[in-house]
């Protein structure tokens, strides 16, 4: 310290102008920094302004959050929801992020979700996969229980799920979607394109089904199925003027919320897919064809029904033999096969088949659903074929064919295409004339007589003026007909004085009960269902029961011969 360095001290050099130079440099630097700051501020300001004016902000994020294009609802004609997409829980697992030992977790999962065994869960958990679904469409309770296991590797997410709030109701009409939200069957499949179209997002599809009517039909048919131990049952209610299907059911049914769990046979739609020989319900069609063609000139013309009709080796007999000569109204009231065969014979193959073709019995019925059954036509029209086809044997159609044909025959003679989508009120419905209005009126009178005095007495819902025809057919089996397995059908319209709705009820292989005195024929099985259903749905559909109203029958009643007191 005390010693000074011997060398010359590098003392401050006093160079003139040096100070100014430094000052100028620092000023330059300062300026540069300031410019940088300014540029940064300017950049921020510009960005703020840009954001302010272009408005790419919360708005769009919120919109993105809320309005994911959901599959639109399906509602019935009154706006009741039949199918809807909701947010459901799904449970998954990140198998590579588990904290608990898979050996401990697997049995717990097996308890909560018993669809897989503990071993299967163990295999899944040990797979080290990044993500595995354990359950989709999980109930909130289950999610809570799984969450309570405390495993951070579990993943819970909300996913859109298709829910059918009415469960089994109209299941065959609705169909269902798979887990990806694509329609698999039914209207879900048909409407898939419309459902995924962003143009229609949020706009529900309105079906022609009335869920109240549908419920009534399903309930009464299920009851009848149980009573008569039937294999299946079908019910159709059709608007005769617009062709809208108000109810369509095929029992046994399934739950579209969980279609995988239902037996496969329940998914068979008997109303659309199944073809049956529908028996005597064809008689009004034959009569209509005969009257329209001018074969039946007078209602009082009598036909021989005293003995079974023998044609070649065939013999046509009546189920309720009257053993006398019958006119046309009597033929329907007593459901005489012999007389129908005679009339069909007179009518001829071409004209009878022509009527069948006009009624659409030559092709699958035109409706939105897939899997429409193709009617079974006689391959070769022998003379006997014409005769038997006249009373509904040898030709098989779907119940929907029959409902459509009855609607056309009774509404004044115009056939409308059937649809499952609601038509706008007042919309013009395409239609083709199949018979004349006069013949249609006569048919209404005849079918009313059947219900008042004939085989369809049990279908008479008081005040609702049901007109229709029963049909009991034996099921075809190997090499002939099985006498014990019947298809009992009732087809008709109500109110018959001003037809609004056609109704077809069919029971597949009903068994007679003590209440029906062992009979399983349509008059004892299908007709009472029609009465119960019509009594329920009539007021719902705006038809007020009125015991004083009816179709005029003064000109028909005298034609029906009644045995006098004491006579056979």
């Amino acid at each position: 310290m005390t010693t000074a360095p011997p060398v010359a001290k590098p003392t401050r050099l006093h160079v003139p102008g040096r100070r100014q130079q430094v000052a100028a440099l620092s000023r330059e630097r300062l300026m540069l920094v300031m410019l940088l700051f300014l540029a940064a501020i300017l950049g921020i300001v510009l960005k703020i302004m840009y954001l302010t004016f272009t408005g790419q902000s919360f708005d769009d994020r919120a919109a993105g959050l809320t309005s994911l294009p959901l599959r639109p609802d399906i509602v019935d004609r009154n706006g009741e929801t039949l199918a809807r997409t909701i947010d459901a829980w799904s449970i998954g697992v990140h198998a590579d992020r588990l904290l608990t030992r898979p050996e401990d977790l697997a049995p717990q999962l097996a308890v909560l979700m018993p669809e897989k065994t503990a071993d299967q869960y163990l295999a899944l958990l040990k797979s080290r996969k990044h993500f595995i679904y354990l359950r989709r469409r999980a109930m909130p309770e289950l999610v809570e229980a799984v969450n309570a296991l405390g495993e951070p590797g579990m993943a819970f997410a909300r996913e859109p799920e298709r829910l059918y709030p009415q469960a089994e109701l109209a299941a065959h009409v609705l169909g269902w979607t798979n887990l990806d939200g694509t329609g698999v069957t039914g209207m879900e499949k048909l409407l898939d394109k419309r459902m995924t179209d962003p143009k229609y997002a949020g706009k529900p599809v309105t079906l022609s089904i009335d869920s109240r009517v549908q419920a009534a039909v399903e309930k009464e048919l299920a009851q009848a199925m149980l009573n008569f131990q039937a294999r299946g049952a079908t019910g159709i209610v059709l608007d005769v003027h617009s062709g809208e299907v108000i109810a369509l059911t095929s029992l046994p049914s399934f739950n579209p919320n969980d279609p995988g769990r239902s037996p496969p046979e329940t998914r068979f739609n008997q109303a659309i897919t199944g073809v049956y020989e529908l028996g005597s319900t064809f008689k009004p069609i034959t009569i209509a064809a005969a009257m329209d063609a001018g074969v039946v000139t007078s209602l009082s013309k009598r036909y021989d029904a005293t003995a079974p009709l023998k044609v070649g080796k065939f013999s046509i007999r009546d189920d309720h033999p009257t053993k006398r000569w019958l006119n046309v109204p009597e033929m329907l009231v007593h459901s005489s096969n012999i007389v129908t065969a005679r009339i069909a014979d007179e009518l001829g193959k071409d004209r009878l088949n022509g009527m069948f073709m006009r009624l659409g019995f030559g092709e699958p019925v035109s409706i939105e659903l897939a899997g429409r059954g193709r009617p079974i036509q006689p391959v070769f029209w022998a003379r006997t074929t014409t005769m038997t086809a006249g009373y509904g044997h040898g030709i098989a159609v779907t119940p929907m064919h029959l409902a459509k044909a009855y609607a056309a025959l009774m509404n004044g003679g115009i056939m409308h295409p059937v649809t499952l989508l609601k038509r706008e009120p007042g919309a013009i419905v395409p239609g083709t004339r199949v018979i004349s209005p006069q013949v249609s009126y006569r048919l209404r009178q005849f079918t009313r007589m059947v219900v008042l005095e004939g085989t369809g007495k049990q279908a008479n819902a008081p005040g609702l003026r049901v007109g229709g025809k029963t049909g009991t057919a034996e099921k075809a089996s190997q090499g002939g007909y099985a006498r014990k397995s019947l298809v009992s059908t009732f087809a008709g319209v109500f109110p018959v004085d001003d037809p609004k709705y056609a109704i077809v009820m069919m029971l597949d292989e009903p068994k007679g009960t003590a209440e029906t005195y062992g009979y399983a024929t349509a008059g004892w099985t299908a007709a009472p269902v029609v009465r119960k259903v019509v009594a329920r749905i009539g007021p719902l559909l705006g038809i007020i029961p009125d015991a004083r109203k009816d179709i005029p029958l003064e000109d028909i009643k005298p034609l029906i011969w009644h045995p006098k007191e004491g006579e056979e």
């Binding site: 929801t81 909701i86 109701l169 005040g463 007021p539 004083r548």
Partner: protein, 287 residues
């Protein structure tokens, strides 16, 4: 000098204030917009929630479930043809059956009335409503009836009539035509017995009786019987109490007494009621 030096700073400050103001405005707007957005979000989430609840309700109240409930508990059935009425006439036909019962009761009462007509009573009793008929039973009825019968002939004890009047107080529905008749009865009573009012007054308020009597006497020249009646009624009628007190006043004027008499007239229906009640009471007792 100083000012000039600070000018630039002043500019900067002014600019800063202006910018700050602008920024505040934009901040305000942003806040509003944010609030609006959060509200919209709230609305949409509420709608989602509503939809969820609707779905749950619809699922729980599905047709099959309603059907099950109906089977188990409600047992509702489809309406039948008879339950629908086609027109207004059918409705009238339905309602026509109903009045049959009350009509019968009416005729019964009418027969009672005819019985009364036969009786030697100057008043035709009204068809007093039933509760009155019941209350006017044993104790009052015989006395009151007797009173009615005797009125034209003899005087009866004051206390009894007083009691009857009290009973009349209870009744409120009286008919005018009867009141006229009753008036006659009352008048005839008073003509016979001008002193009745005095007696009544005495029984009720002995202290006042003298004064009342005096008033009556003074007024007698103009209206011989009315004041007494007015007093009597005044006692029975609550609204008339004012007049009663007025009457108690010694300087009772003609005008006042006239007024009171008017009131008496207007409220004369009360005695009539009594009469009818009385007779009724007797009638009920007779069989």
């Amino acid at each position: 000098m100083m000012l000039a030096r600070f000018r630039s700073i002043g500019w900067v400050a002014a600019a800063a204030v202006a910018v700050l103001c602008c920024y505040l405005i934009s901040l305000r707007v942003a806040t509003e917009r944010g609030a609006l957005e959060s509200l919209e979000y709230k609305i949409s989430s509420s709608q989602k929630h509503i939809r969820l609840l609707q779905t749950e309700l619809g699922t729980r109240g599905q047709m099959n479930q309603l059907e099950r409930w109906n089977e188990q508990a409600l047992a509702l059935a489809a309406p039948e043809a008879e339950q629908f009425l086609p027109d207004a006439e059918a409705l009238v036909a339905l309602t026509d059956r109903q009045p049959a019962l009350p009509m019968q009761e009416d005729t019964q009462l009418a027969s009672v009335a005819t019985d009364l007509d036969v009786m030697p009573v100057t008043t035709t009793p009204t068809l007093a409503d039933k509760p009155a008929l019941r209350t006017a039973s044993y104790e009052v009825a015989p006395v009151a009836a007797k009173l009615m019968q005797d009125r034209s002939v003899v005087d009866r004890p004051v206390t009894k009539s007083d009691k009857a009047e009290k009973l009349a107080k209870a009744d409120k529905s009286a008919k005018t035509e009867k009141s006229v008749k009753a008036e006659k009865v009352a008048k005839s009573d008073k003509a016979d017995k001008p002193a009745k009012g005095e007696k009544l007054a005495k029984s009720d308020k002995p202290a006042k009786s003298d004064k009342a009597a005096k008033t009556e006497k003074s007024a007698k020249s103009a209206k011989p019987d009315k004041p007494s009646k007015a007093e009597k009624l005044a006692k029975t009628d609550k609204p008339a109490k004012v007049e009663k007190s007025a009457k108690a006043d010694k300087s009772a004027k003609d005008s006042k007494s006239a007024k009171s008499s008017k009131d008496a007239k207007s409220s004369k229906d009360k005695p009539v009621k009594l009469a009818s009640l009385a007779v009724k009471g007797k009638e009920t007792r007779r069989p």
